[in-house]
C-alpha cells in the first residue's frame, strides 16, 4: 500500500518476483492500477487518502475474528499495559483525543501516558513530555499491566473500542473498496500470519505524503504487531525510499532537528548541561537510548577532536540549538516573508518537486542569494528567467534580484562513496570516470566550502566562530583531483577507540571522551580497518542472509528486532521460521543473522534494581530501542496527533468524514495565508468546483523532479511529455479526448497535460456516491528534453505535524478539456 514498487523500485522488485515464484502472494492496494498491480495476485482500488479506514478495518477484523498471534502480542507488545484513567478516545470525543488545546492547535499528551509512569518515545518527539523526576520508568516492565487483556483500560481493550466501527461496511463506504475484496485481503493476510508464516507491508510516499502520513504507517505497525510479523523473516514494515541514498541522508542527518544517528538536536529550551540533556532525552530509561551520552559524546569527539574536552562538555555548546520548526516548508515561507536570505540547494529541485511550486518560486525570487548544485540547470536555478511566471509575463527576469550561483555537480559514477539503501544496507561504489570540466563531488564542495569559511574566519576571536574553527577538518586529499578521501570520512563515521584503532561496535562507545564516532549506528562499518561496505561476495557463495554483501547498520544486522523471531523462552516460533534463537549449550543467541540483542543475555534475565539502558530490559523484551522493550500498539509519546491512528479526511476531500464529526486531523499543520489558499472541502461552500480527487506519482522512466532524467534523451523519449490519467467515465463526463489536452485547476494554479484515458484509473463507489480520481505524474517542468507543466504547482502547503511532510497524495481539483489559458507577455 502507498507504494508502486514495480515502477518506482524496479530493481528491488526482483525480490518480489522471486518470492512470487516461490508461492508468495502480492496484494496491491492502490488508487490506480499500476505496473505493480499488473504483477500483483490481487489489486484493490482505494480512494486516495482513506488508508487508515482500510487498515483500521483490518485491525478491527483481526481483533473481532481473534486472528491475532496471542502469544506474541501478549509478550512483545504493550497490549497488556494499562493507560492513565484520564485518557479519552476519539470514540468519546468524536474525533479528538483527550488533551486537545484548541488555541495552540496541539495536544497535551500527558493523559496518554501509561498508568503509573511516564515513558519516552524511541523516535519522533522524543524529548516531550518532560518526565517528572520520580516518574521515569527505569524498570523493564511497565508498572501496571493485565496479561488477561480484560482490564477496560488495557491497550488491547482500548484498541478494540477505538476500531469498533471500522467494519467492512464502513471500509466500503469510506474507501470505495467492495466488502468482498476487503475480506479477501483480510483473510489472506491473517491466514499468512502465524507461527509458520509471515506477511510484510511495503510502503513509500503514497503513505507519507498526507496530513496523517505517520499514522498510516503506525496502523500498519499495529497490524504487524498483532499478527506477530515484526522481527521475523518475511515480516516487517518496509519503507521504500525515494532515492538511492535517502536512508543514508536521513541517518547522517539532513533534517533540521536530528543529529547523526537520530540524536535530537538540542532546543533552546533544553538544558545546556550535556548530562542533563541526555537524561531528559530518555538517557535514564531502559533500552539502548539509555546510552545516549556515549553516542553523543562520541559524535562531539568526531566533530571537534582534541578540542572536545570534559572542560567544555566536549563541545556541547558548539552545537546549534533549535528555536522552533525550521523544516523545509517553514523555511520556504521564511524566504517569502523575507527572514531567510540565502539558500543552498543540493540534489533537489523544489521548484518542481515540492508542493505549491508557485510559492517556492516566489520564495526563490525574494532571496538575496541562491546556490544550486546539480547535474543540469534545473528549474530551481532557472526560475528567474524560465518559469511559468516568466512565461506568462507575470514576472520579468530583470526584476528578479536574487543572485543565483549554479555549480555543476558530479554524478554518482564520477565519485567514490556509499549508498545506504532502504534496508539500511551500506554499499560502496567506486568512481568509474573523472567528472568533466568543473563538475565536482558533493564531498569536494562541502570540504572546500568549509575550508574557505575557516580560512576567512581564521583571525576571528568571536566565541561564536569557535565551533567552525575547532572542527576537525583534515581529510587526506587526492593529489590529482584534490578530492577528500571518502573512505577517510567513512572511517571517521565508523569511529575510533582510545588508541586510534577502528571500533567494531557502538557497544564500545564511551561517554568519557575516549572514543569518537560520527554516527553511532554506523559504528563498525570500518571494523578492523576493512571497508565492510565494499564487500561484494555473491549471494550464492554464502548463507541466504548474505551477511558479506555490503554492511547493514547496526552491526550488520539484516533483520531488526530479530529477538522477536524466537518466543519468550528463546525457542523459534516454528522450525520453518527458525532464525535467531537461544542456544543454551553455548549460552548465546545463534542463527544466520547477527542477533539484535545482547548476544549472551539469557531469555530469563531479569534486570537487577538500578540497571540502566539495555540492562534495564528483561531477556524477553525484543524491542530494545523502546524504554519498555515492547512494540507499541498504543503510542503514549512520540506522535503529536494521537496514540491511535484515526481516520481523517485529507485537507481537501470530496466527501465528509463518515466516522467522526471532526473532518480532518486537528493536529495537522496548516498555513492560512493569502498565497496558500485551500480548495473548499466537502461541506464548505464552493466545494463543488473541485469535485475530483487528484494524486501525484512517479513513472519508471523518470526520476522524481526530473533533474536526472529529463535531460537524457534515452529516458525522455520513453515518456516525452507531461500527461494525466483519467478513467473512460471521467473522460466522457468532461469531454476529454485520448491524446488531447486537459487543464487541471485548483485554488493554487492551473496546469495543462496530455490526456491518457485508461480503465486503470478506477471509478470508486462510496455508497451512492461516485468519486473520480485524476492521476498526475509530477516529473515535469520547463527544462530539459521532456517538458511539461508541474503537477506540484496544484498542491497547497498542508503538513503532517509529526514530520512536516506535505499532503500531495490526496487533494481536490477540477479537470476540463483543452489547454490552459496563456497570458500574453508584457
Amino acid at each position: 500500500m502507498g507504494s508502486n514498487m514495480a515502477e518506482c523500485h524496479p530493481v528491488a522488485f526482483q525480490w518480489i518476483v522471486e518470492a512470487q515464484r516461490k508461492g508468495g502472494k502480492l496484494i496491491h492496494v492502490d488508487p490506480r492500477f499500476t505496473r505493480t498491480s499488473a504483477m500483483a495476485n490481487l489489486h484493490v482500488p482505494i480512494r486516495a487518502g482513506s488508508d487508515i479506514a482500510f487498515l483500521g478495518g483490518l485491525v478491527h477484523y483481526i481483533l473481532e475474528q481473534e486472528r491475532y498471534f496471542r502469544d506474541y502480542m501478549v509478550a512483545y507488545t504493550n497490549a497488556t499495559t494499562i493507560i492513565d484513567e484520564r485518557f479519552l478516545d476519539t470514540e468519546d470525543l468524536d474525533g479528538f483525543f483527550s488533551g486537545w488545546n484548541e488555541e495552540s492547535g496541539t495536544y497535551d499528551t500527558s493523559s496518554w501516558q501509561y498508568e503509573g509512569g511516564v515513558i519516552h518515545a524511541s523516535a519522533g518527539e522524543r524529548g516531550a513530555p518532560r518526565p517528572p523526576a520520580d516518574g521515569i520508568i527505569i524498570e523493564g516492565a511497565p508498572p501496571h499491566s493485565d496479561p488477561t487483556l480484560e482490564h477496560p483500560r488495557c491497550v488491547f481493550q482500548l484498541l478494540r473500542r477505538h476500531y469498533s466501527r471500522y467494519t467492512p461496511e464502513m471500509v466500503e463506504r469510506v474507501c470505495g473498496v467492495p466488502q468482498h475484496k476487503f475480506l479477501e485481503v483480510a483473510e489472506t493476510i491473517c491466514d499468512n500470519s502465524n507461527r509458520e508464516r509471515t506477511t510484510a507491508f511495503v510502503y513509500a510516499v503514497g503513505w507519507t505524503q498526507h496530513t496523517v502520513g505517520v499514522q498510516f504507517i503506525r496502523t500498519s505497525a499495529i497490524i504487524q504487531l498483532l499478527l506477530g510479523n515484526m522481527g521475523r523473516t518475511g515480516g516487517g514494515v518496509m519503507a521504500l525510499r525515494g532515492h538511492a541514498n535517502i536512508q543514508g541522508a536521513t541517518d547522517i542527518a539532513t533534517l533540521f532537528d536530528v543529529l547523526p544517528g537520530y540524536i535530537q538536536v538540542p532546543s533552546v529550551k533544553d538544558s545546556s548541561n550535556l548530562k542533563q540533556f541526555c537524561l531528559d532525552q530518555g538517557g535514564a530509561a531502559g533500552g539502548y537510548w539509555g546510552n545516549l551520552e556515549a553516542y553523543l559524546v562520541s559524535l562531539l569527539k568526531a566533530y571537534w577532536g582534541d578540542r572536545a574536552t570534559p572542560d567544555n562538555q566536549f563541545g556541547f555548546d558548539y552545537l546549534h540549538r533549535v528555536t522552533g520548526d525550521h523544516s523545509t516548508y517553514q523555511s520556504t515561507l521564511g524566504m517569502v516573508d523575507g527572514w531567510v536570505k540565502g539558500f543552498v540547494v543540493l540534489g533537489e529541485n523544489p521548484a518542481v518537486g515540492s508542493a505549491h511550486g508557485g510559492l517556492h518560486r516566489k520564495a526563490l525570487r525574494r532571496l538575496d542569494w541562491l546556490v544550486v548544485r546539480d547535474l543540469y540547470e534545473i528549474e530551481t536555478a532557472s526560475f528567474w528567467y524560465d518559469s511559468p511566471e516568466t512565461q506568462s509575463g507575470e514576472i520579468r527576469a530583470e526584476d528578479v534580484g536574487t543572485e543565483v550561483f549554479f555549480l555543476p555537480a558530479a554524478a554518482n559514477a564520477e565519485k567514490n562513496g556509499s549508498f545506504t539503501n532502504t534496508q539500511r544496507l551500506l554499499q560502496w561504489h567506486e568512481q568509474a570516470v573523472e567528472p568533466r570540466g568543473d563538475c565536482r563531488s558533493d564531498l569536494w564542495f562541502t570540504y572546500y566550502l568549509g575550508a574557505k569559511i575557516r580560512e576567512k574566519l581564521a583571525a576571528s576571536t568571536e566565541a561564536r566562530d569557535r565551533a567552525l574553527l575547532d572542527l576537525t577538518w583534515d581529510y587526506p586529499l587526492d593529489p590529482k583531483s584534490g578530492d577528500p578521501s571518502a573512505e577517510e570520512v567513512l572511517r571517521e563515521i565508523s569511529g575510533r577507540g582510545p588508541d586510534g584503532q577502528l571500533l567494531a561496535s557502538f557497544g564500545a562507545l564511551r561517554a568519557d571522551g575516549s572514543t569518537s564516532s560520527g554516527c553511532w549506528i554506523y559504528c563498525g562499518a570500518f571494523a578492523g580497518g576493512q571497508n565492510l561496505t565494499n564487500r561484494k561476495r555473491p549471494g550464492q557463495e554464502q548463507s541466504w542472509v548474505a551477511p558479506e554483501w555490503g554492511w547493514a547498520w547496526p552491526l550488520n544486522r539484516r533483520v531488526l528486532y530479530n529477538r522477536a523471531s524466537a518466543d519468550p523462552e528463546g525457542k523459534p516460533w516454528s522450525e520453518r521460521k527458525r532464525f535467531v534463537y537461544w542456544d543454551e549449550a553455548q549460552g548465546k543467541w545463534v542463527g544466520p543473522d547477527v542477533p539484535d540483542f545482547p548476544g549472551d543475555r539469557r531469555p530469563d534475565y531479569q534486570p537487577p534494581p538500578g540497571a540502566t539502558a539495555e540492562n534495564a530490559l528483561s531477556g524477553d523484551r525484543p524491542f530494545i530501542m523502546q524504554a519498555d522493550g515492547v512494540g507499541w500498539l498504543f503510542a503514549p509519546s512520540g506522535v503529536v496527533d494521537g496514540p491511535f491512528p484515526t481516520h481523517y479526511e485529507p485537507q481537501e476531500s470530496p466527501v465528509r468524514n463518515l466516522l467522526y464529526e471532526q473532518e480532518r486531523n486537528p493536529a495537522r499543520q496548516v498555513f492560512r495565508r493569502r498565497d496558500n489558499p485551500y480548495n473548499p472541502t466537502a461541506g464548505e461552500p464552493g466545494s463543488e468546483r473541485f469535485p475530483f480527487v487528484m494524486s501525484t506519482y512517479r513513472l519508471t522512466e523518470h526520476h522524481t523532479a526530473g533533474g536526472m532524467t529529463r535531460f537524457l534523451s534515452r529516458l525522455s523519449q520513453l515518456q516525452p511529455e507531461m500527461f494525466c490519467e483519467v478513467s473512460p467515465e471521467l473522460a466522457q463526463e468532461r469531454g476529454l479526448r485520448p491524446g488531447g489536452w486537459a487543464t487541471i485547476s485548483t485554488e493554487r494554479s492551473v496546469i495543462e497535460a496530455r490526456v491518457l484515458v485508461t480503465a486503470r484509473l478506477p471509478v470508486l463507489r462510496l455508497g451512492d456516491r461516485v468519486v473520480h480520481q485524476v492521476g498526475l505524474p509530477y516529473h515535469w517542468g520547463s527544462r530539459g528534453l521532456s517538458t511539461g507543466d508541474s503537477a506540484n504547482d496544484l498542491f497547497p502547503l498542508v503538513l503532517d505535524h509529526n514530520v512536516h511532510i506535505q499532503e500531495t497524495k490526496a487533494a481536490t481539483c477540477d479537470i476540463q478539456p483543452g489547454r490552459r489559458p496563456r497570458v500574453a507577455s508584457r
Binding site: R35, A38, T700, Q717, L718, G739
Partner: protein
Amino acid sequence: MTAAPTARRPAVSLPMWQGGGTRMGFFTDSSICIGCKACEVACKEWNGVPDIDTGFTGNSYDNTSSVGANSWRHVAFVERQRPDTGDGVQWLMNSDVCKHCTRAACLDVCPTGAIFRSEFGTVVVQDDICNGCGYCVVACPFGVLERREAPDGRAFKCTLCYDRLQVGDEPACAKACPTQSIQFGPLEELRERAEKRLEEVKQEPRYAGARLYGDSKDDGVGGFGAFFLLLDDPEVYGLPPKPVYRRTDLALLWGAASVAASVLTLGVLGSLSWRRR
C-alpha cells in the same frame, strides 16, 4: 488462410540453420515483465541506436510503438479487461525483439551477404556491407527489419549483442533486466526452462491462456532463437500467430514471375515471328 509453409517445404529447398556450436538466444518471459523499459535503454546505450521521437502516443505507456531500426527492443503494453473474471483490468507487458529465426528469410534474401548467421546461431546485419536494398524488410514476417532513413537507408536490427557475445558477455538488455524477464543462454536450455515456467504460470486462472511463442521447430520459421512466454494469443501483443517464412513465397513469386516473363517473351517472339511472316 495462409497455406502452412511447412507443407511447401519439400518443393523449395529451405535453408535451415544447422549450426556447429551452441546456439544462443533469448527467452523473454512476459509473465514477469514489469514494463520498466530498461531493456530498451540498455540496448540503445550499448549499440548506439539513435533516439526516436514519437512524442506522446496516448497508447498506454508505450511511446516507442514498435520494434524498428531505431528501437531494437520494444516493450508492448496491453490494457484490457481480465479475461477470466471479466472484473477489473489486466495490463500485459512484453519486451519484443528480433526473433533470430531458424529459417531467417531476411538472411536468405539479402543480396549483398550483409546479413549472416553468426557462430552463436544468431542473425546479424553487418551495417558496413548493407546497401539498403530493403529486401530483408519485406521478407521479415515480424516487421522487425527496417531501414534507417537517415543518413542512407541501411537496415538495422538486434544483433543479439554480437560484440558482447564474442567476449563472453551477455546481451545488454538481458543484463539490465531487473526481474530476469529477459533470459539469455543456450537455446536448448532456455527451452527446457521455459517449459517448466509455463507450467508454473498456467496455475494461475487469469493466465490460463499462457503459451510459449516461437519455441517449436515446426512453426513457419523453424522456431525462434529469441522466443517468448506470452500470457495470451500472440495477436494480443501485436505479434503474428503463424509467422511465415516469406522467402518461400518470394521464391514462388520469382518462379511465377519467370514463367510469366517466359510467356511474355515467347509471346513477343511469337508475334515477331508472326509479323515476320
